[in-house]
Subunit: 146 residues, 2 copies
DNA sequence: CATAATAGTTATGAAGTATAATTATTATAC
DNA sequence: GTATAATAATTATACTTCATAACTATTATG
C-alpha cells in the first residue's frame, strides 16, 4: 500500500506533521492545565498588557465567542483579569496576573523542550527556510494580516 | 500588539500556515463534493485497489469508525465499492469505480493548481527542505509508521 | 471446542470552530 | 440633541472534527 500520490502534496505532509506536533505539544502542557489555544491566549495577554478581547481574537484568528470561554477559564484560575477601560466602558483590558506570567513562562520552557525534540538536528538554516515558506503560505490568504 | 513570543515556535507557524492551506484546499475541491479527508481516502483507494478498511484507516491515521462514514458517502455516490473478500468474510476490499478514478484525477489537478499558488516562487531546494523537516517531525512520534 | 483476536459497524461524546442574536456602550447622521 | 448605526462583549447554539466504547460477524489460537 502506498501514499505516493498524496505524498506529492505539501498539504498532506503539513497535515500529518501538524498532527504529531500538536498532540505532543498538548501532552507537554496538559499537566499545567493548558492546551495549545489557551496557552496562546495566555501568552498573548502576558506579552501585551491591556489588550482588548476583540484585538486578541483578531490576532489569533479565533472567533470572539470562543475567546470568551477561554478567557473565562483563565480568569477563573486567576491567571488573567478583565479590567474595565475608563475611556470605553464596553471594552475590557486584559492583564495577566503574577501566576499567569509564571505559568506562561513555565509553559514556554516546556514547549521549547518539545520543539527541540521535534526539530532535533535541523540546522538553523533549514529551520529558517521552513519558517519562510510557512510564512509565505500564510500570507497567501487574501485578507491575511501582516 | 505583538505575537513575537509565540512566533519563536515552529508549531505556531505550522498551525497558522496549515489553517490557510486547508481552507484554500477545501474551497478548491468543494465544488467536486470533496473535502481534504474524503479526497485522501478516495485517492488512496484509487491508488491501492483491494485495500482493506483497517489498512486504510491505519495509513491515513484516522479512526476506523470515522472512516466508515467517509466510505459510506463515497460508496453512496458510486465513487468506490466495498467488495467481499472470499478468503476473509469479515473484510471488504475497497475499489474505485471509473467515476471515482475520474473524480480523483480531477481533484488532483485542482489541488496541484492550489499548491502552485500557495508555493509560488519557492525553489525546489527549499520545497525539499520543508518536506524533509516535516517528515522528521512526523517520524518523531513513537509509534509512527515508516 | 472454548477463548481470544480481528474487521467492520453503531452509538455516542468531547473538542474545535462558526453563526445569529442580545445587552451595553459609543460614534455618527440628521 | 436625539435617532440610528456601529462596536465590545456575551449567550446560545449548531456544525464539524476527532476519539472511545460497545456490538456483530468471522477467523485464529490454545
Amino acid at each position: 500500500m502506498s501514499d505516493a500520490s498524496l505524498a506529492r502534496f505539501m498539504g498532506y505532509h503539513m497535515k500529518r506533521a501538524q498532527h504529531v506536533m500538536i498532540s505532543d505539544m498538548n501532552a507537554v502542557i496538559q499537566p499545567m492545565g493548558l492546551r495549545m489555544i489557551t496557552f496562546s491566549v495566555l501568552n498573548m495577554v502576558v506579552e501585551n498588557p491591556g489588550l482588548r478581547q476583540s484585538q486578541l481574537a483578531d490576532a489569533l484568528v479565533i472567533e470572539r465567542p470562543n475567546l470568551v470561554v477561554i478567557l473565562d477559564g483563565l480568569e477563573e484560575r486567576d491567571l488573567i483579569s478583565r479590567d474595565r477601560v475608563p475611556t470605553d466602558r464596553r471594552a475590557y483590558a486584559l492583564n495577566a496576573t503574577l501566576a499567569g506570567r509564571q505559568l506562561s513562562d513555565a509553559a514556554i520552557c516546556a514547549i521549547e523542550a518539545h520543539e527541540a525534540r521535534m526539530l532535533a538536528g535541523v540546522s538553523d538554516e533549514d529551520r529558517n527556510t521552513v519558517l519562510r515558506v510557512l510564512g509565505q503560505v500564510r500570507r497567501t490568504k487574501p485578507g491575511a494580516e501582516q
